[in-house]
């Protein structure tokens, strides 16, 4: 292992990691918003829209992010829709993640027995109050494990961004391997940086999951 090489190219990886995290988090945040909207549409069975959401979810879940990105980045400009690589990355991640988040939220909502809603209604709550104080808090905490798994999944998916020439971690590693043949060092740094990004979230996820599973409310 050539430590001099590692120290020399560390800043390059840092820059790439920041890019990965920045685009990743932006994509995740938009995916959460898309997911919430889709879950609400499906929960309230909004006519017409629920079918559109249904089609979107199937399309998004049954195609790879890389193919989605290729279509957005290389295909859409041919019909006049041009996006910059980083915007494209965010859009792609949000398109993919929106459906995964929607499913997580929906299963949380569906896990609440209808009689809980009736109990709230019998106390004179209106639909908003019932949602706000009774259904959502419970649904959210049920969704937490799936939600955390999705966040990790989406951050991992960012590794394909180099295909649309974003200078992320994969791009940097591939570049250095190609330029200097320092394969071991380049790959070592790649793994370390992904661990730095993903390990804390993964640990947080399993702590949350364990707390919810074994203790529930009132630990």
């Amino acid at each position: 292992m050539n430590w001099e090489f590692i120290m020399k190219y560390l800043p390059l990886y840092e820059k790439a990691a920041v890019l990965t995290v920045r685009i990743g988090l932006m994509g995740v945040v938009i995916a959460i918003i898309v997911g919430l909207i889709c879950a609400a549409i499906q929960y309230y069975k909004v006519p017409v829209l629920k079918h559109i959401v249904g089609i979107y979810i199937e399309l998004s879940r049954n195609t790879p992010l890389l193919v989605q990105l290729f279509f957005i980045y290389y295909g859409l400009p041919k019909v006049g829709i041009r996006t910059q690589a980083d915007v494209c990355g965010v859009i792609g991640l949000a398109f993919l993640g929106g459906s995964y988040m929607a499913e997580a939220f929906r299963s949380g909502l569906e896990a609440i027995e209808p009689i809980q809603a009736e109990s709230a209604m019998s106390l004179g709550m209106n639909r908003y109050q019932m949602m706000r104080y009774v259904i959502l808090p419970q649904a959210m905490s049920i969704s937490v494990p799936a939600f955390m798994a999705n966040v990790i999944f989406l951050l991992k998916e960012t590794s394909v961004f180099s295909a649309i020439s974003l200078m992320d971690l994969m791009f940097t590693a591939k570049d250095l391997i190609g330029l200097y043949y320092k394969t071991t060092e380049s790959l070592f740094l790649l793994v370390v940086f992904y661990l730095i990004i993903l390990l804390p979230i993964s640990i947080l996820g399993s702590i949350l999951e364990r707390r919810l599973r074994y203790a529930g409310f009132g630990a």
Partner: protein
């Protein structure tokens, strides 16, 4: 109106070439799944062993594989193996190795999850009926575990197929690579073909995965 790729798609053997590219992706996923499932079941069962050393090693392996992006794993095996062992793996072999490693880890986690989801009183009531350990597993535990496992393993297949899109990045000629080649070859005649060709790739992947997802969903509902 300029051609958005439909003409190119229908020209010569282009459509067949794309489907052929998907065929390679499907072949790699299929081989990997077929190997991963028994290995995963074995590993998942080993995880229930009490031996702390086996457990720690297995855990480390599983956690590493599951936390790393598959793209990183592909790089590690494809570029790393040349460096470390002097092997010159083809992209296809490297992909199969990675997908088996990854599939086994995912599968073993599914097995562990399915086994631990069987309530303890199922074992107890079976014992109370006088069934032996083997009979308990054979008639009570395994059938219930399978019902949870089968839809999840089918989902693993679609995840594999989707992940095969990544092998483009280590130089395997699959759908996206074929698409790139077709677009490149028709650059002069149809400069806008990328739209239609990539849309076709998108739909091809969808057509490959969607029926499998539907099957998994159907089984999940039926066996609830």
């Amino acid at each position: 109106m300029p051609d958005l790729g439909l003409e190119v798609l229908l020209k010569g053997k282009n459509m067949m070439r794309l489907i052929g590219g998907l065929g390679i992706a499907l072949k790699i996923s299929l081989i990997s799944v077929v190997v991963s499932i028994p290995l995963g079941i074995l590993l998942g069962a080993l995880m229930t062993w009490k031996n702390p050393i086996t457990k720690a090693i297995l855990r480390l392996y599983l956690e590493f594989i599951r936390i790393m992006p598959q793209m990183v794993l592909l790089f590690l095996v494809y570029f790393g193996s040349t460096r470390a062992f002097g092997w010159d793996l083809s992209g296809e072999t490297a992909s199969i190795i990675v997908f088996i490693l990854w599939g086994t880890a995912e599968m073993s986690d599914l097995v562990r999850g399915a086994l631990s989801s069987i309530p303890k009183h199922q074992y107890e009531s079976s014992e109370a009926l006088g069934l032996s350990k083997v009979q308990t597993y054979l008639y009570i535990i395994i059938p219930q575990t399978l019902r949870r496992l089968i839809p999840l393993s089918i989902n693993l297949i679609t995840r594999m197929i989707k992940t095969t899109s990544l092998i483009l990045m280590i130089g395997v000629v699959e759908v996206l690579k074929v698409a790139q080649q077709i677009i490149e070859a028709n650059r002069m005649a149809s400069p806008n073909a990328a739209f239609g060709i990539y849309l076709a790739v998108f739909l091809l992947y969808f057509l490959a995965c969607w029926p499998i997802s539907m099957l998994a969903k159907y089984l999940e509902k039926r066996w609830k």
